[in-house]
Symmetry: C2
Subunit: 340 residues, 2 copies
Amino acid sequence: MANLFLDACANRPVSRTPVWLMRQAGRYMAEYRAIRERYDFWTVCRTPELAAEVTLQPIAALAPDAAILFSDILVVLPPMGLSVDFSPGPVIARPVRTTDDIHQLTTFDVHRELGFVFDALRMVRRSLAPEVALIGFGGAPLTLAAYMVEGGKTKNFEALKSLFYARPEAAHGLLDFLVDVQADFLCAQIDAGAQAIQIFDTWAGSMPRDIIAEFVIPKVASLVARVKKSGVPVIYFMKDAAHVLDLLAQTGADVLSLDEKTPLDIAAARIGGHVALQGNFDPAVLLADRETISQRLDALLATVPPGRGHIFNLGHGVLPSTPVENVAWLIAQVKRRSAR
Amino acid sequence: MANLFLDACANRPVSRTPVWLMRQAGRYMAEYRAIRERYDFWTVCRTPELAAEVTLQPIAALAPDAAILFSDILVVLPPMGLSVDFSPGPVIARPVRTTDDIHQLTTFDVHRELGFVFDALRMVRRSLAPEVALIGFGGAPLTLAAYMVEGGKTKNFEALKSLFYARPEAAHGLLDFLVDVQADFLCAQIDAGAQAIQIFDTWAGSMPRDIIAEFVIPKVASLVARVKKSGVPVIYFMKDAAHVLDLLAQTGADVLSLDEKTPLDIAAARIGGHVALQGNFDPAVLLADRETISQRLDALLATVPPGRGHIFNLGHGVLPSTPVENVAWLIAQVKRRSAR
């Protein structure tokens, strides 16, 4: 069955560009805020009915070509033995700092501990029209490690970088553990109905190139290889990757998702190969008027390199202050203006 | 008179690599903390005796090859009519948002309004040995505009990007105004004894490439040209510039300062030309042991491209948690290991 999103992931020709938006379910939508007035973030993530409902809200309202499960990359931390609170950013009560801390992280049965994720995926898949793809996701090893080691968001990554610089063996051990956890978790999402997987690497691009070459690319490549055995496409999104574009194809991902910093044609030339691209509209453009949005959309579509699949998306998530009518209009315009 | 720092800025041969560190005066030093226990940040900036004392603290303790005036890029805001508080990050009480706000910004006589900066420079120059260079500095137009429009630090630059996307003419007006202010300010610093100028562009690298091409490079080039008429070298530091390295030489700066993301040899190939380079040691390495620091230092020195001047510096400022003895040791090692 033809599916625009899956066709683009595989570099197959499509009648128009498929489109979905990172954080298409979120605070900019009144339906989402109504749910969040009654339930906290973690409760929504962990309650399959709520996660499924929130996942489907933008599908009904905005008609993108893919749904991505509403969840959080940090759902894997509590089963490892790390408690996570959101206040509103994530706070890990006892960060992982020593080699002992790393050894004390526990492996776990993803089906027993994270059943709410798989239940939500099954519910969403049952409600989706066949032409809408369902995307599962998880955090990349370095990004998960960043939260675990730093204990939350950070500007300078002092603890994480100290691990890389002064105790590289311990860092490799932690990252390899996370590859194992994520391979199990993502493959189980595929079993539950995910038709593609996006790996989010929010913080890897904050590292210098040599750290990325040693601690990011080989780990992601190992994870991607294990996920691809399940036969679904893998999208890898490293934010702020301009200094390592030429390394990204080594991950083996089917699709590279790019932020808004570099135009797609320039990025593609540095990436090389034939990997499909996802992105990279600046979410801040959605705060402007429609004429500006149109101009920027046409400019982006003109940068899509020929011969590569392209999935329209933002450079990062929808900003909470975005007018929902601009998002609806953008998605409709992508469909119309990209039609071949 | 031979001056290693000035020789390196001009791509002249040097007997060893000159070294100074961004934020070499700061919280990691007990002498600095002692001053700050008695005076707030703004008072230190605005009192020439205190600014000069803090500027000279690392010169006495660590013997770098250059002193940079202790001050803040936002000293130019109050004379324009914008009050700034630090709590601890900068907060601008009434951000610049409308075209009217931009028109209400006032030009001012830098000598009358910012005399404390020039007095401090004269005091420092009198106390410095002739072989130590004195660097003046200021903010680049976009970075100043970011604070003025957003009202402080921001993650997504929603207000600033809205200006660029939806009201580009107003944005050009604001940036051109800032070029004028900064040209006067930086030239007056040179008159007061600054032997080089560093232009800090902390936030430009957070913008997409097309915004940088339109709103950053031409404005910085105009500013650099006006400063260079005074006959001193100009260093331009755009943080997170990996996606626009090939545009940086168009600024006309004598020296490009680079963050730690891209090794110097790879960066130089993308920059092209013959501009000298400054950087780009990861400040987080200074949290590690000396063996690690040594290895990383040797690795950095091996990436310096032949034929270009090189000034050793960090990729960004010294982290407040850095052990001061590691900084002293790094500076001594740079001098020793780079000797030709």
